[in-house]
């Protein structure tokens, strides 16, 4: 139906271009969605526990463990200091070992996940630092076990921060995924680079950038809504 509408309203040449771009965009969107959702999933599964580990092994908290803390921090800092393009190449052997291939969106999702875990772990840790130590002390005073403090005090009190951090991570991952083109990952950002930059098709670049802006806005407003629903600090 849309194709008919386009064929009626535009010259055959332009109509062909528009339909091609639409197909490309749809494919790219699918690839971005795949890469970002896999790596976001890993950010939660891996980054959340790592962030907790960094926090509860620090300071005077209940599992004060310098070795675990220093090791965790070092690992996170190293991963965070490597530019993503380099990480993408550095982790090729890991990708090969995990998936048996180094090409395609799933392959790009491996380095993306590694970066996401380190990124999100740091955000989780800083959200946990925002939790009033007095509340943790109160829980300890009532005889709460460490695991229970994590589940019933730290997690719910830091949840709004976790959600905000997750959205920041998601948006960074959408940005990172543009570099996935290097390993044939595709995605919206890659589309913008290939057509808009290398082929000087400015209109393609503008369209993809608009799509990205809309996407980021949507993600951010969804995140803000979720976070403020979880946050009861100023109701």
């Amino acid at each position: 139906m849309i194709e008919q509408w386009i064929a009626v309203n535009f010259s055959p040449e332009l109509a062909k271009q528009i339909i091609e771009l639409a197909v490309d965009l749809a494919n790219a969107f699918g690839e971005t969605f795949l890469m970002v959702s896999i790596s976001t999933l890993f950010a939660i599964v891996g980054g959340l526990p790592l962030g907790f580990l960094l926090h509860v092994t620090s300071r005077k908290l209940f599992w004060n463990n310098r070795l675990a803390n220093v090791t965790g921090n070092f690992l996170v800092n190293v991963l965070r200091s490597i530019p993503f393009v380099i990480l993408l190449v550095l982790l090729l052997p890991l990708t090969q070992w995990v998936l048996g291939t180094t090409i395609g969106p799933t392959a790009a999702a491996v380095p993306l996940s590694v970066a996401a875990i380190a990124f999100y772990a740091r955000l989780v840790e800083s959200s946990l630092c925002e939790v009033d130590p007095g509340v943790v002390e109160a829980a300890e005073a009532f005889g709460t076990s460490p695991l229970r403090i994590i589940a019933t005090v730290l997690f719910p009190e830091a949840l709004p921060g976790f959600l905000r951090g997750l959205m920041v991570t998601l948006i960074s991952l959408i940005g990172y995924s543009a570099m996935a083109g290097i390993v044939g990952g595709g995605g919206i950002g890659d589309l913008a680079i290939r057509f808009g930059y290398y082929r000087y098709q400015t209109n393609v670049m503008v369209v993809t950038v608009v799509v990205l802006v809309v996407l980021v806005q949507l993600v951010q407003s969804l995140g803000d809504r979720l976070a403020s629903r979880a946050d009861k600090k100023d109701v």
């Binding site: 009033d132 007095g134 509340v135 002390e137 109160a138 829980a139 300890e140 005073a141 009532f142 005889g143 709460t144 076990s145 229970r148 019933t152 005090v153 719910p156 009190e157 949840l159 709004p160 979880a230 946050d231 009861k232 600090k233 100023d234 109701v235």
Partner: protein, 344 residues
């Protein structure tokens, strides 16, 4: 109920060891409201945290309800702590939980059944006067209401001891008084032993039966609240009490005086007016009251008067003024509990 024996707590501050609590021993009886008063940094907060081992002492023993808990760890320590409630200066409520969930916290930690929690929480919220706020979040409450939630949470699991860490320091005067009344009521109705720390003698005076005064990590004085207040021994205690009584005289009264200014202390039922008028008539001195107040600690009164003794124009005897003054002073001295010459 609580015995602290030779407690010592050291902190490492920038590589240096600082003794926050130095060889402190206290014994607190069942059902008492025991106050620990001192300036900030005196170690009172640390000492309070030793009682539930939030702060582990470097030396000494802690006994609560007859059990030596000093060496308990892990699950055993947690079970012991479930019998010790605690409230805080800044309330320390969970912001993302309702009043109901905050009040239920200690019960859930202690593994009480759903049915028991559903029965106990409304009961305890009624006790603190917040039954209509069960579904509110802490951010929707006033400071006094937050502290009430703190109290509900602390006493929900029927503790034997309630530790209060500066419970009214973040509240205005009126709210403070209401919170202290509530604590008093809880002490009387539930028989919970209360240990309260404060830097304000006024708080101690209002609620405590016994007091320990801390300064520089030591307990410098302890005893009945009435005695500490009426006859403080240690200079630091005296300073604290004087601060609370606020018997300052305006400078011009002191500078322009033409006689002797005395501070008189009357304890219990001693009749103040009678003493002064008798002294005036019998010894021919004029007595002006410059300042005075009666403080009630528990049900007992402490009367304080600042008076100016001058020569009376119609003195009955021919004796010179200094001699009459001397006689008046010694007469007052036999009648009042304590006489202090402030300005000659």
């Amino acid at each position: 109920m609580i015995q602290l024996e030779n407690i010592r707590v050291d902190f490492a501050v920038r590589g240096q060891s600082v003794q926050a609590v130095d060889n402190v021993s206290l014994s607190i009886a069942r059902g008492e409201v025991f106050g620990i008063v001192g300036a900030s940094g005196a170690g009172k907060s640390t000492l309070l945290r030793v009682i539930n081992l939030l702060e582990r002492p470097g030396a000494g023993r802690v006994r609560v309800a007859g059990e030596d808990i000093t060496d308990l760890r892990g699950g055993e320590l947690r079970r012991a702590r479930q019998k010790i409630g605690m409230i805080f200066q800044h309330f320390n409520l969970m912001q993302n939980r309702t009043v109901y969930d905050n009040a239920a916290y200690a019960l859930r930690v202690a593994g009480k059944s759903k049915a028991e929690i559903a029965r106990r929480v409304p009961e305890i919220l009624r006790l603190v006067g917040l039954e209509d706020k069960a579904q509110a979040y802490p951010a929707q409450l006033s400071g006094g209401q937050k502290q009430r939630v703190g109290i509900a949470r602390a006493v929900a699991n029927h503790p034997e001891v309630l530790l209060c860490d500066e419970p009214t320091s973040a509240l205005d005067l009126e709210t403070s008084a209401a919170i202290l009344d509530l604590l008093k009521e809880i002490n009387a109705r539930l028989g919970i032993t209360i240990v309260l720390i404060s830097h304000e003698m006024a708080v101690i005076k209002k609620i405590c039966t016994r007091v320990a005064v801390m300064d520089g990590g030591h307990v410098v004085e302890q005893g009945e609240a009435y005695d500490i207040f009426a006859t403080p021994q240690h200079p630091f205690t005296r300073q604290l009490v004087e601060h609370t009584l606020n018997l300052e005289l305006p400078p011009h009264l002191v500078d322009d005086r033409q006689g002797t200014i005395l501070k008189l202390l009357f304890l219990g039922d001693q009749a103040e007016e009678g003493v002064l008028s008798t002294a005036s008539i019998r010894h021919g001195v004029a007595i002006n009251i410059l300042h005075g107040k009666i403080e009630y600690i528990g049900h007992r009164a402490v009367g304080l008067l600042v008076v100016l003794l001058t020569d009376s124009p119609d003195a009955p005897t021919g004796l010179p003024f200094p001699l009459r003054l001397q006689a008046a002073l010694s007469y007052i001295g036999t009648q009042a509990s304590h006489v202090e010459v402030l300005h000659d």
